[in-house]
C-alpha cells in the first residue's frame, strides 16, 4: 500500500517534528507538509506545500498531492498563536470544515488522524474524576478553545458518517509539555511568581512531547480507528508542580475575572483564556485504558517525568529552587536533632 501522508500544520513545533519523523519512516513513501507560512524548523525530507486551510486552497493541495493519510495538526490551543481569539476560532473551526470537505471529495484519502485535546471534556466542579472517551463531551464546556475542540470533533464525526470507508482516529491529548515545546501552560510554569486560584489545587495529567509524536506516528502508520485519550501515567497537583519547578505561588481570589485575566494578558505575564482558568481551578483527569488496550500505545514518560524533563530544561533557578529548599531542610534537621548547625 502506497503511503503518502499529508501533515497539516507544519509551521508549528509538533507539526514540523511529526513531518520529520514520518519522512524518516521506511513505511512512509512520501510526506507532504502543509501550512500557510513556511516552517522555521526542519521538516526532514518532507515537501512543503503552501496552503491556507481556511480557504479552498487546501482542496487543490489534496487533489494535487493525492495523499492516502491526512494528519490534522492545525487546531490551535492558544489565541496568541493565532493572533487573537477571532482568528483562532476561524483557523480551528473553518479550517477543519474546509479540510474535511476536501477530504470528503478526495478519491485518495483513506485515513484521517486528528490531534485533538482532552479540553473537549471541559473542567468544572461537576466533572467526574476521570473522563472516558464515550462520555458526552463538553458537559461543562462554555467557550473558548474547549468549545472549538468540541466543534472540530463534531465535524469530524459528521465526516466519518458521510465517508464510512475512511478510517478516522481522534487522539485527545492531555496537556503536552517537554524540554522544547512552548505552550500556554509551559509559559505559565516559567513565570517567576505563578498566579494560582486561592484554595484550589487542581490535579492534571501531562504528555511528553516525544510521547505525543510517537502516538501520532503510531496512529498514522497503523490501522487504529477510534477515539483515544492520551496521557502519561499518574497525576500531579499544581502546588506540587510549582514546588518541583521552584516557583512561588501567588494565590489570587480568582483567576477568572476580566480584571485579573486582562491584567495578566496586557502585561504579557500570562495568556489565560476562560478554558485555561477553569483547568487551573478544577483540573481534569482522563481514563487512559483504551489507549493501552486498543491503540496499543504505552507512553515512555509519566506525568511526573514529563514535568521534571520540562523543569530541568526550562525552569531552573526559581526563587524556591529545590536544592536551596533541601539545604534549609538539612539545616533545620541538624538543629533539631542536635548535630552541629549547618547540615553541610
Amino acid at each position: 500500500m502506497s503511503r503518502v501522508v499529508m501533515v497539516v500544520g507544519v509551521a508549528r513545533y509538533l507539526g514540523a517534528r511529526l513531518a520529520e519523523l514520518l519522512s524518516a519512516d521506511p513505511e512512509v513513501e512520501r510526506v507532504v507538509g502543509v501550512d500557510v507560512v513556511e516552517p522555521a524548523e526542519s521538516i526532514g525530507s518532507a515537501e512543503f506545500v503552501r496552503a491556507d486551510i481556511r480557504t479552498s486552497d487546501i482542496g487543490r493541495a489534496i487533489r494535487r498531492t493525492a495523499p492516502d493519510t491526512v494528519v490534522h495538526m492545525n487546531i490551535l490551543a492558544t489565541r496568541a498563536d493565532a493572533g487573537g481569539r477571532a482568528p483562532q476560532k476561524e483557523i480551528n473551526v473553518i479550517g477543519t470544515m474546509q479540510l474535511l470537505a476536501a477530504c470528503q471529495r478526495s478519491e485518495s484519502v483513506r485515513k484521517v488522524v486528528v490531534k485533538s485535546s482532552t479540553a473537549v471534556y471541559g473542567a468544572g466542579p461537576n466533572a467526574p474524576a476521570l473522563f472516558s472517551e464515550d462520555m458526552v463531551p463538553g458537559v461543562s464546556v462554555r467557550g473558548g478553545y474547549e468549545k472549538d475542540a468540541g466543534e472540530v470533533e463534531a465535524y469530524v464525526r459528521g465526516f466519518s458518517r458521510r465517508r464510512p470507508d475512511v478510517d478516522v482516529t481522534i487522539l485527545r491529548f492531555a496537556n503536552v509539555l517537554g524540554p522544547t515545546i512552548r505552550t500556554a501552560l509551559s509559559e505559565y510554569f516559567v513565570l517567576p511568581v505563578v498566579p494560582v486560584a486561592l484554595g484550589r489545587d487542581p490535579r492534571f495529567q501531562l504528555v511528553h512531547e516525544r510521547d505525543c509524536l510517537d502516538a501520532l506516528r503510531l496512529a498514522t502508520v497503523a490501522e487504529r480507528p477510534g477515539i483515544f485519550n492520551v496521557a502519561g501515567d499518574g497525576f500531579l497537583v499544581l502546588s506540587q508542580a510549582l514546588r518541583r519547578a521552584g516557583r512561588p505561588a501567588l494565590p489570587l481570589p480568582t483567576l477568572g475575572t476580566p480584571l485579573v485575566g486582562g491584567m495578566l494578558r496586557r502585561t504579557g505575564v500570562a495568556d489565560m483564556d476562560a478554558a485555561m482558568v477553569r483547568f487551573l481551578t478544577h483540573g481534569r483527569g482522563v481514563d487512559t485504558g483504551r489507549m493501552r488496550a486498543r491503540l496499543g500505545f504505552e507512553p515512555a514518560y509519566s506525568t511526573l517525568a514529563t514535568f521534571d524533563a520540562f523543569a530541568a530544561a526550562r525552569a531552573q533557578g526559581g526563587l524556591l529552587d529545590r536544592d536551596r529548599v533541601r539545604t534549609v531542610e538539612q539545616t533545620v534537621r541538624g538543629v533539631l536533632t542536635g548535630e552541629a548547625g549547618h547540615g553541610r
Binding site: L130, G199, F235, L236, Q240, R243, G285, R322, V335, G341
Partner: protein
C-alpha cells in the same frame, strides 16, 4: 552570609541552643522531629503522590486525620461497633444516614474506619457538587480521598477495590430540622445501589447516632441561603448568635455501627437497570439503618451523658 565565619558561628550557636531547648524543655522526641522535618521537606520539594481522584494518602495520614482525631476521641467519644463487617481487602460500599447541619459525620466515619479497622483502610467518601465548588473545601476534600458523587467515579473506585462511603440522603439529611432527628429521608434514586450491583460489591449499612445533636437546626434562613447559593442556611441555638463560637459543635456522645454486608453479586446481569431490584435493595438498606438507629439511641441514653 554563609561566607562570613564569625556570623556563621553565631548562627550555629543560636540554632543549636534553640534545638536543645526544643528537645530538652519541651520533651520532643528526636525521631518524631526527624520524621516531621522529612515530611515538611518532601512537601516543600513536591516529592509526593496523589492518585487519579486527587487522594493524598500521606497528607491525610500525617495532617488531616490527626487534626480530626481529638474531636473524634475526646469531644464526641465515638464508639464503633461491627468494624469486622468492613472487609479486610477488596471493595465495599458503606451507606450511612446523614445528619448534623455540617457533615462532620462523614469525616468521623472516615476516621472510625481508619483507626478501628485492623488494616487501617481509607474510606473514600462521596461529596456533592457544592463541595467541589467551594475553594479550600474542594481542595481538602479531594486530598482527603473524597470525590464527586457521580456514577462514573463510584464505579471507578469500586472497580479499583476501594472502600467507598456514601450518604444517600444528601442535603435532605444534613439540613433537616432538629425536630426530625433520626428520621431517615428518601435515599435519592438509589444510584449507589445500581453502582454496587453493576460491580457486584457488598453494601455495608452504617448507622450513626450522635451527629444529629451537634448543631441542632432550629431554623433555616432561606433568603440568606439563596443569596449565598447554599442548600440551606442553618440557625442553631448558638449560630449565628455567638459568632465564631457558634461553630463549636455540641459534645454529644456518638455511636457508629457497621451492619452486616448485603451481598449484590447473586443478582442476574442487568439487575442494576431494573428499578424494582434497585428500589427493593435501597429499601432494605434504609430499613436496616432506621431499625439500628432506634436500637442505638436506646443503648446510648441521653445525648450529652
Amino acid at each position: 552570609m554563609a561566607d562570613d565565619p564569625q556570623l556563621t558561628g553565631a548562627v550555629d550557636r543560636v540554632a543549636t541552643s534553640i534545638g536543645r531547648v526544643l528537645r530538652d524543655r519541651l520533651g520532643v522526641d528526636a525521631g518524631q522531629l526527624d520524621k516531621l522535618v522529612d515530611f515538611v521537606g518532601r512537601r516543600l520539594t513536591g516529592d509526593f503522590e496523589v492518585d487519579a481522584f486527587g487522594f493524598d494518602e500521606e497528607l491525610t495520614e500525617t495532617v488531616l486525620l490527626p487534626v480530626l482525631r481529638p474531636l473524634y476521641r475526646h469531644w464526641f467519644r465515638v464508639d464503633v461497633r461491627g468494624i469486622e463487617n468492613i472487609p479486610d481487602a477488596g471493595s465495599a460500599l458503606v451507606a450511612a444516614n446523614h445528619s448534623g447541619t455540617v457533615p462532620l459525620d462523614s469525616l468521623m466515619t472516615q476516621l472510625a474506619v481508619h483507626d478501628e479497622h485492623p488494616r487501617h483502610r481509607h474510606l473514600r467518601t462521596l461529596g456533592a457538587t457544592l463541595v467541589f465548588q467551594l475553594p479550600v473545601v474542594s481542595d481538602l476534600a479531594r486530598k482527603g480521598g473524597s470525590t464527586l458523587a457521580c456514577n462514573e467515579d463510584v464505579e471507578a473506585l469500586l472497580a479499583a477495590g476501594e472502600l467507598v462511603g456514601v450518604w444517600p440522603e444528601g442535603f435532605k439529611g444534613v439540613g433537616k430540622p432538629f425536630s426530625e432527628r433520626y428520621k431517615l429521608q428518601r435515599f435519592g434514586r438509589g444510584g449507589f445501589v445500581s453502582a454496587a450491583l453493576r460491580t457486584g460489591t457488598p453494601i455495608v449499612p452504617c448507622s450513626i447516632v450522635g451527629a444529629e445533636e451537634i448543631y441542632p437546626m432550629i431554623g433555616n434562613a432561606d433568603y440568606l441561603a439563596r443569596l449565598l447559593g447554599l442548600p440551606y442556611f442553618p440557625v442553631t441555638p448558638t449560630f449565628p448568635w455567638l459568632g465564631p463560637l457558634g461553630l463549636v459543635p455540641l459534645p454529644s456522645k456518638w455511636i457508629i455501627e457497621f451492619g452486616e454486608p448485603i451481598r449484590t453479586d447473586e443478582y442476574p446481569p442487568g439487575a442494576a437497570d431494573d428499578p424494582m431490584v434497585v428500589f427493593e435493595l435501597t429499601d432494605q438498606v434504609r430499613d436496616t439503618i432506621q431499625r439500628t438507629l432506634t436500637e442505638l439511641r436506646e443503648l446510648r441514653g441521653p445525648a450529652f451523658g
